[in-house]
């Protein structure tokens, strides 16, 4: 595996050749940069993957049942398992989605579940991403290119091929398709994940669509072809967020939405992947309740653990948080992408006091977690291998059945002292190998 290091330069050249980039906005200007790639993969054994597969599928199944419940009967609320507050005052709950039954009854078709492995070898769930988790394209193309640059490594080691992601994605879209073509809806060229949108469309055989390419007519969704003949769309893998999706339903000022698409969806004439309104289930506050959901809906114990979490909303937890603020990590439930994450140990006494006041004033807004001492992975820096914090985003696809992609996006922090691995904050990525038996 270490011979991969010798091929680093070749692999990076290939990544540049294929434009493997992500965009960021700096001073309101759009820049594209290469996503720093580290050649040393994260390796997961077949047994370990089996375990993860069971745990992640279980989790996503429960989350899908929860979403269906929250937008219809609300049994879990009535039975007092989750306080109504955490659902119906959440920004992610969209009353516009109430009583919609999505095709195939699936809400979260593509879930990105972030995990870390602790030094105790246990895996912990950090976060569920049920809206538009991105990142699958990077390990997919990195694998393709690494195989080209270092074929010998791959013929010696039996590694599950991860390039089947496109097939899995296509099967998921086909399963919920209501009749018509599959499209990947991108907000446009200047979106941070544009590379991924266009790459996944190409690989899955879906048509890449800009918002202006789609049109609602007579309660059906169409793709406008040049020359005048419109084609019906049966499934939209949309990569723009709920609030911009339909100016007739959400933000009226959205210029990148498709007017009327929500009504088409409500009428069952198109599938939207992932379903609008999923934000209610991947809220950092709801995270706390996922093990309860698993028990409630599936009658099972959660296979994968949450990081120990305290809800400021509960008085007992709040007291605990305020007492141990300096050792906890505090997260603002309304923020995403590594923003709104505060490590108590990094704060001065005064800042800690300020934080305590904010938590007391708005308890519903915060959760606090024990800092998990997660294992380091080696990355190549110059001629050395150095340890860095890394997490794993596993992709779980729900269609006819629920399956975990035998790979994932391993993101690492390039800063030795940082636990924050997000690409928007300068992190890099590795391929994730799942060994075959």
């Amino acid at each position: 595996m270490f011979e991969l290091v010798d091929h680093t330069e070749n692999i990076n050249r290939l990544l540049a050749r294929y434009g493997v980039k992500f965009g960021i906005y700096k001073n309101h200007e759009f820049h594209e940069q290469l996503f720093p790639f580290d050649p040393l993969p994260r390796v997961i054994s077949a047994e370990e993957f089996d375990f993860l597969n069971r745990g992640l599928s279980q989790r996503v199944n429960a989350l899908n049942l929860f979403l269906a419940d929250v937008y219809s009967e609300k049994k879990i609320i009535k039975d007092g398992v989750i306080p109504a507050d955490f659902v119906y005052s959440s920004k992610g709950y969209l009353p516009q989605c109430e009583k919609i039954v999505p095709p195939g009854k699936i809400y979260s078709h593509i879930s990105g579940i972030d995990l870390v492995q602790g030094k105790d070898k246990n895996w912990y769930i950090l976060e569920d991403n049920l809206r538009i988790p991105s990142g699958a394209s990077y390990p997919m193309i990195a694998r393709e290119l690494t195989r080209r640059a270092a074929p010998a490594t791959f013929s010696r080691t039996r590694i599950a091929d991860n390039r089947n992601y496109a097939v899995m994605l296509k099967e998921t879209l086909d399963y919920v398709n209501t009749g018509g073509i599959n499209v990947v809806l991108t907000p446009g060229r200047y979106n941070a994940a544009f590379f991924e949108h266009s790459y996944l469309a190409e690989r899955s055989g879906a048509v890449l669509a800009m918002p202006q390419d789609l049109l609602v007519e007579n309660n059906k969704l169409y793709y406008r072809q040049y020359g005048g003949r419109n084609l019906q769309v049966g499934a939209v893998y949309r990569r723009l967020s709920d609030e911009y999706l339909d100016p007739l339903c959400f933000l009226p000022e959205s210029l990148i939405g498709v007017p009327g698409i929500m009504n088409v969806y409500r009428s069952g004439n198109v599938a939207i992947v992932n379903a609008p309104g999923n934000g209610v289930a991947d809220d950092k506050g709801i995270y706390y309740f996922v093990p309860h959901m698993i028990k409630y809906y599936l009658g099972e114990e959660a296979i994968l653990k949450n990081a120990p979490t305290y809800l400021a909303f509960y008085e007992k937890d709040r007291e605990f948080i305020l007492e141990h603020l300096e050792r906890l990590v505090v997260k603002d439930v309304s923020e995403a992408g590594g923003y709104g994450v505060i490590f108590g140990r990094d704060l001065t006494k005064e800042k800690l006091r300020e934080l305590a006041e904010v938590i007391k004033a708005e308890p519903r807004r915060f959760i606090a977690q024990e800092v998990i001492d997660f294992i380091d992975l080696g990355i190549v820096e110059g001629d050395h291998e150095v340890p860095r914090k890394a997490d794993l985003r596993a992709f779980v696809l729900a269609g006819k059945d629920t399956r975990v992609w035998p790979s994932g996006l391993t993101r690492f922090s390039r800063n030795p002292n940082s636990f924050v691995v997000n690409s928007s904050q300068g992190g890099g990525f590795k391929d994730t190998w799942v060994l075959s038996r």
Partner: protein, 227 residues
């Protein structure tokens, strides 16, 4: 038949135009550059005039630098290459990642060479190589015929425009025109038949076409109704 939106048809067409503009102007640039090596220091002025770009350059060196590599200069080769890339990147699905990579690499060479090329005709040979590879690959790998035809409509329209301006032989122009018509008749882009007829008439005059140069160019520019 593939699925092409209005937006994508537009992107395909303009990709064809810009990729061709970079290729043909680079080749033409090398010819003028060759003249400037030991002779006419101001040959670039004629060049600017011919392809109708403003002559904003102070000297031969200034021209060489700014015409090739200055991203702020809207008429520079690199600006045209950027535009080719901007169009190409949104039609990855139609072109394929494999084909698209040649556009990416051509752009990367121009970006990388900026400011240090003292032998541009040598250093930029790679841009020409990648663009030729792009055209070959596009022909070979782009499954959808309609896509290929739209790109080529853009390509040959641009080529005709530049060949006419640069004073290529009537024979060369006639050859490109028939390639252009061949594609034009196979796409669903709306165009003005009367312009096509007039162009054919003028080009069939052989070397005599030059008398009607302005009219020919105008007929060409206004050939398409929307794009």
């Amino acid at each position: 038949m593939g699925i092409i939106s209005i937006e994508k048809a537009d992107r395909l067409f303009w990709l064809g135009r810009y990729a061709e503009r970079v290729l043909t102007t680079l080749v033409a640039f090398f010819d003028f550059y060759d003249e400037m090596i030991d002779g006419d220091e101001k040959a670039y002025r004629t060049y600017c005039k011919k392809i109708a770009i403003p002559d904003v350059y102070k000297s031969k060196e200034d021209f060489q630098q700014k015409y090739l590599f200055d991203g702020q200069n809207p008429d520079s080769v690199i600006s045209n290459m950027e535009r080719a890339f901007d169009n190409a990147v949104v039609i990855r699905g139609e072109l394929g990642t494999y084909t698209l990579s040649y556009i990416q690499m051509a752009l990367d060479v121009l970006k990388g060479e900026g400011g240090k090329a003292d032998a541009p005709a040598y250093d930029l040979q790679q841009v020409i190589d990648y663009l030729n590879a792009f055209w070959g690959c596009m022909d070979d790998q782009t499954e959808d015929e309609e896509c290929r035809n739209i790109i080529k409509c853009g390509k040959y329209l641009e080529r005709l425009d530049l060949y006419m301006r640069l004073g290529y032989s009537a024979k060369a122009i006639d050859k490109e025109f028939s390639k252009f018509e061949n594609r034009l008749h196979r796409v669903r882009l709306p165009y003005r038949r009367e312009n096509e007829d007039r162009l054919r008439e003028i080009i069939s005059l052989g070397d005599g076409w030059r008398e009607y140069e302005k009219e020919a160019l105008e007929a060409l520019w206004n050939l398409f109704e929307v794009i």
